[in-house]
């Protein structure tokens, strides 16, 4: 530090500020270019989904469809039973989100509010399960669930969510810890039970954190491929990712490119909608629970 000080005499305070301008221009240009590169695949995803089968095979790819083939979006419902896939995925993701929110909020509240014996030990154990790779435990889980006759049902995809997930518990605990103690003292004065304080004080104040957890849980369940591939065997129970994965299989001599893109666009819709609704809460949630 001292060498820098010695070489640069104290200039007028405006000097460093003026020097920032070229940096900002360079940043702006870099951002324009990277954003263009990031968005280009998405642009083509949407535009390709609306091209006719013939136009799809053209090289170089056309930016916008020459004729807009809206019928592609109807075709996918015939080729793939897309309606069933979508419904299955929505049911599973919806119940998983509900289960994750309920259980993670309860557990996180316990860790944040009660200094009971063993709190630290269990919390460290919880954090260490974040490292536990699912493939490392999937075989015994599969054996367990097949003994319970749960194969080819949605249960293995939903029930574990009701027992909390480490990352989300961690996130919510960080948030609950910032709630002022006085709120709960006041609640206790009023004769509030512990569960009631959780429901009427902690939860309503935690909307950003809960929205963040809901989004994470939804994306996780919505995108999960490995678990449904293991557990679901009849095609009317398949989830969206399982059905979509079959589009690249060898049963198509030429991959149905337009359907690949239609499926991808439609798979994205719920996630984008969720973000659009909860964006403010989500950003706030990430900032407030930021890993420190």
């Amino acid at each position: 530090m001292s060498t820098v000080k010695a070489t640069s005499p104290l200039g007028p305070p405006s000097r460093p500020r003026r020097r920032l301008a070229p940096v900002k221009i360079a940043s702006f240009i870099t951002l324009i270019i990277t954003t263009f590169l990031m968005l280009l695949p998405l642009f083509f995803m949407v535009s390709t989904s609306l091209k006719s089968k013939r136009e799809m095979l053209k090289f170089p790819p056309t930016f916008l469809p020459e004729s807009w083939a809206w019928s592609n979006y109807a075709d996918i419902f015939e080729t793939l039973q897309f309606g069933t896939l979508y419904k299955n995925s929505l049911i599973i993701a919806g119940l998983s989100v509900f289960g994750t929110l309920l259980s993670s909020a309860l557990v996180a509240y316990g860790f944040a509010r009660y200094r009971g014996r063993g709190n630290n030990f269990w919390f460290i154990l919880l954090l260490s399960t974040m490292m536990l790779p699912y493939p490392a435990i999937m075989i015994p889980q599969f054996v367990l669930f097949s003994k319970m006759q749960w194969i080819d049902t949605f249960l293995p995809l939903i029930v574990p969510a009701f027992f909390g997930s480490a990352y989300n518990i961690f996130l919510l605990r960080q948030f609950f810890s910032t709630l002022p103690e006085e709120l709960f003292d006041a609640g206790r004065m009023d004769g509030c039970g512990e569960l009631r304080m959780w429901r009427t004080i902690a939860l309503p104040l935690s909307a950003p954190a809960l929205a963040t957890v809901a989004i994470f849980a939804f994306i996780y369940s919505w995108n999960d491929l490995l678990t449904p591939v293991l557990y679901l065997s009849s095609s009317d129970k398949f989830t969206l990712p399982v059905g979509m994965a079959s589009l690249t299989s060898s049963r198509f001599r030429i991959p149905p490119w337009h359907l690949l893109m239609v499926a991808s666009v439609l798979a994205m819709v719920p996630i984008v909608t969720l973000f659009a609704i909860a964006q403010k809460q989500f950003v706030e949630g990430i900032v407030l629970t930021g890993i420190k």
């Binding site: 530090m1 820098v4 000080k5 640069s8 900002k24 940043s27 702006f28 951002l31 954003t35 990031m38 968005l39 280009l40 695949p41 995803m45 799809m56 095979l57 090289f59 790819p61 259980s103 309860l106 557990v107 316990g110 860790f111 509010r113 009660y114 009971g116 063993g118 269990w122 154990l125 974040m130 490292m131 790779p133 490392a136 435990i137 999937m138 075989i139 015994p140 889980q141 367990l144 574990p160 009701f162 027992f163 909390g164 512990e194 959780w198 994306i219 995108n223 491929l225 490995l226 990712p241 979509m244 690249t248 991959p255 490119w257 893109m261 991808s264 798979a267 996630i271 930021g290 890993i291």
Partner: protein, 299 residues
């Protein structure tokens, strides 16, 4: 005295009441599977017939199995390129966006957008992008006069195609870095600025240490995620061509659920578990010198 004791008992009671869902889940869905897969790893087991104890045979077979070593090589190569580059890109984007610039909100959303497409949808999209005849990637290369390779159909380039694809979701790391950067006190930066410290020095001596916990967290989670790559291999390449994208977990999945060798796969699972724990432990230990925690002493 009595009051204090009953208060601490009350606290303990409610602690266990509230965390019981996770405790039960931990025992059933984590601890039991870990221990039983350890047992299965010493057996010959096909899920249908009862397991037969065979000692270390699964482990010795593994170390002589060519596909095992192939999967290790593929996974490590993917990890060692994809994780650091994703971190750097995420941090770079975050630093660019942590200034007052026009269109900031738009840039932030646009960078994060690809992360919403992850999973099978992303794999299908990039399956098309990398298609050598009609795909976007070689078309864009042709702007610069480059004749692109066959990407996913060429054993020499397939893995690199998947690595390039992974950069597309660097925006999810950027969000976390941005949150970290917001936690760096402006007063510290101003003070350094007044002392005449340049941008680079401020970044190296103030910003970087302050966000090092975020960096560490992302490094570890990034490693764990990339050790578990499955979707891309399943959807885009089926481990090929010529096993060039034969990822560790794809290997594990195939031997467990295609060849019904649950004993051997359990040994694979345990090796994965140990490797993940080792990597995490080593990184944590090395990082102790560099990572700064608020309120803790640094040296």
């Amino acid at each position: 005295m009595f009051v204090i004791k009953s208060e601490s008992r009350r606290q303990t009671f409610y602690l266990y009441l509230f965390i019981s869902p996770w405790l039960i889940g931990f025992l059933i869905f984590a601890l039991y599977p870990i221990l039983s897969s350890l047992y299965y790893s010493f057996t010959d087991y096909d899920i249908i017939h009862p397991p037969k104890f065979i000692g270390l045979a699964n482990y010795t077979e593994m170390f002589h199995n060519e596909l095992f070593w192939r999967s290790v090589k593929v996974t490590l190569r993917y990890t060692f390129i994809s994780v650091p580059v994703q971190l750097l890109l995420g941090l770079g984007f975050a630093l660019l966006l942590h200034q007052s610039l026009p269109w900031r909100g738009f840039f932030r959303t646009a960078m994060y957008f690809p992360s919403m497409v992850s999973g099978v949808a992303m794999s299908l999209l990039w399956y098309w992008i990398f298609n050598p005849q009609i795909g976007l990637f070689n078309y864009m290369l042709s702007w610069f006069g480059i004749h692109g390779p066959a990407w996913l159909m060429n054993p020499d380039t397939a893995l690199y195609a998947l690595i390039i694809m992974s950069f597309w979701t660097a925006g999810s790391g950027m969000i976390l870095f941005l949150a970290g950067l917001q936690g760096v006190p402006a007063s510290l930066i101003e003070a350094a600025n007044l002392d005449g410290a340049g941008r680079f020095r401020i970044f190296l001596n103030i910003t970087l240490p302050m966000i090092s916990p975020v960096l560490l967290f992302q490094l570890i989670m990034g490693l764990i995620d990339s050790f578990q790559v499955f979707t891309q291999a399943f959807v885009m390449t089926q481990g090929g061509p010529n096993y060039s994208t034969w990822f560790y977990v794809y290997n594990l999945y195939t031997s467990a659920f295609k060849e019904y060798r649950a004993g051997y796969s359990s040994a694979l699972a345990w090796v994965l578990l140990i490797v993940v724990m080792l990597f995490t432990a080593v990184i944590m230990k090395l990082s102790r010198r560099y990572v700064h925690y608020e309120g803790g002493s640094r040296r």
